[in-house]
């Protein structure tokens, strides 16, 4: 019996040193070495295994204190944890902002639709008309702008191709402007309307000229000394004005009977030189706005003309030639 155990122990010990023994086998070894029958040759192993057995008896004699704030999995904590996750927080913040922006945009741009090639039906008198933005399609037919700073200018002529556009309000149409949005400000002398308001076309006798550039036009109505109603059509031009905008101004000028020519030079999509020449065909009155700025600088210029009740221009704004750097592009 002893030798059997001994042999078995020796076999297991070989496995043991290779790390191949199972838990049960190791248990067998432990019990064997706890017994008294171990020969001297295996005394070293006995000491080792005794150590392990003895160490199992070591107990924890300290004390465990509970932490103070065990609120555990309370509901409040869970809610707090949920809301502190970054994606929840960002959603909570962003969604209202986006909604606000969207509704604000809708108010502004409700009337603005991009032009496509279909022809719209002519506006019936009681419909409200979308004030459309003129996109770049029609300007392509007559004007080329270079977007990088190169030296050749862009010449535009305003004579042709406007008539393909029939989806704007023809100037001269009798239009009454009824303010329907809250951004309408009326001063006692001038009826100033921010575009973006709904415009309904009726056959009322008072006429206002509405131009289709929706963010930069102010409509002033005033009466001059003779009592004839005159309207001023105004445009704000900045270094960010788009080519579409410039082309739409050109179109409107043409409709108002102004011979309108312009050259624009850009650097990285920002205007740095603008040369506009206007001549009222009927009276020959001439005005030139020619400004040149350092590249990437900003500017604001106002361009306007006054129209009579037929929508024909009667006077132009004063010209201005201002070159903060040397201007390169005269109108020939």
């Amino acid at each position: 019996m002893k030798t059997e155990n001994l042999n078995r122990a020796k076999n297991l010990l070989d496995k043991y040193e290779l790390g191949q023994t199972s838990l049960e086998e190791e248990n067998v070894l432990i019990t064997y070495f706890n017994s008294e029958e171990v020969p001297n040759e295996l005394a070293n192993y006995k000491d080792e295994f005794n150590y392990y057995s003895a160490f199992r008896n070591v107990q924890f004699t300290g004390s465990l204190q509970e932490p103070n704030n065990i609120s555990g999995n309370s509901l409040v904590k869970k809610i707090y944890k949920f809301f502190s996750k970054w994606y929840v927080l960002s959603l909570i913040i962003l969604v209202p902002i986006l909604l606000l922006i969207a509704t604000y945009q809708n108010n502004q741009n409700e009337e603005v639709k991009p032009i496509n090639n279909q022809s719209f039906p002519p506006p019936s008198t009681n419909d409200s008309i979308s004030l459309v933005n003129q996109d770049s399609k029609f300007k392509d037919s007559f004007v080329r702008e270079n977007k990088n700073s190169s030296t050749y200018p862009i010449v535009s002529s305003t004579q042709t191709a406007f008539d393909t556009l029939n989806n704007t309000i023809e100037l001269g149409d009798k239009v009454s402007v009824t303010p329907e949005s809250s951004t309408y400000n009326v001063s006692s002398k001038n009826n100033t309307i921010e575009l973006g308001d709904k415009v309904s076309v009726t056959t009322e006798s008072s006429t206002d000229n509405v131009s289709s550039d929706n963010q930069h036009n102010l409509l002033n109505s005033s009466t001059d000394k003779s009592g004839v109603a005159q309207k001023e059509v105004t445009f704000n031009l900045t270094e960010n004005s788009t080519s579409g905008k410039l082309a739409s101004i050109a179109y409107l000028a043409n409709k108002a009977g102004i011979e309108y020519t312009y050259i624009v030079d850009r650097h990285k999509k920002k205007i740095h030189e603008l040369n506009i020449e206007m001549i009222i065909r009927s009276t020959g009155e001439r005005s030139q706005l020619w400004i040149a700025f350092p590249k990437k600088s900003s500017f604001v210029e106002t361009l306007y003309w006054t129209v009579d009740q037929d929508g024909k221009a009667v006077s132009l704004c004063a010209g201005k030639i201002e070159h903060m750097v040397s201007a390169k592009h005269p109108i020939e």
Partner: protein, 161 residues
């Protein structure tokens, strides 16, 4: 099983692991208490583990290893007084021999110490040990084999002196 209950079940194991790592009875007791508080405060983090026991032991091991790292900044390693509880009650020479074994084990690397402790004292299966040590089973087997050989050789050497 409930976290607290599981913790109390293996308090002995956690304490012994801490002893092997920290070499000091007082430090080990403090470590276990601190770890208990830590676990109770972060109970939610333990809910995702399948084996709470392995997770707790692994966490405890890491806790003690961090303690060692921060210790090293202030003391050199030799200064730590190695006080381990006495293992036997009898006064035969067996205590000396046990101390010798203990000394040899102390000279092992921390990883080896922990593995030997988990296997021989706690009798945990290889898979669980591998889980706790964040190693592969093969690696753990090799380490154990190497350690056992080393213990035998060292013991033979020193005992004869």
């Amino acid at each position: 099983m409930n976290l607290k209950q599981e913790f109390l079940n293996i308090t002995g194991t956690l304490y012994r692991v801490a002893l092997q790592i920290l070499q000091n009875q007082q430090d080990a007791e403090d470590a276990v208490s601190d770890f208990y508080i830590k676990v109770m405060e972060k109970r939610d983090q333990f809910s995702r583990y399948d084996s709470l026991k392995a997770a707790l032991i692994r966490s405890m091991k890491n806790h003690c290893l961090n303690l060692i790292k921060s210790r090293k900044r202030f003391h050199s390693v030799e200064e730590i007084s190695i006080e381990l509880p006495s293992l036997t009650n009898d006064c035969s020479g067996s205590e000396e021999r046990l101390l010798l074994v203990q000394k040899i084990i102390d000279e092992l690397s921390v990883k080896q110490k922990i593995i030997i402790e988990l296997r021989m004292v706690e009798c945990l299966p290889m898979k669980q040990i591998a889980d706790i040590m964040e190693e592969k089973v093969n690696t753990v087997e090799k380490i154990i084999s190497r350690v056992r050989k080393k213990i035998r050789i060292e013991y033979e050497n020193r005992k004869s002196k």
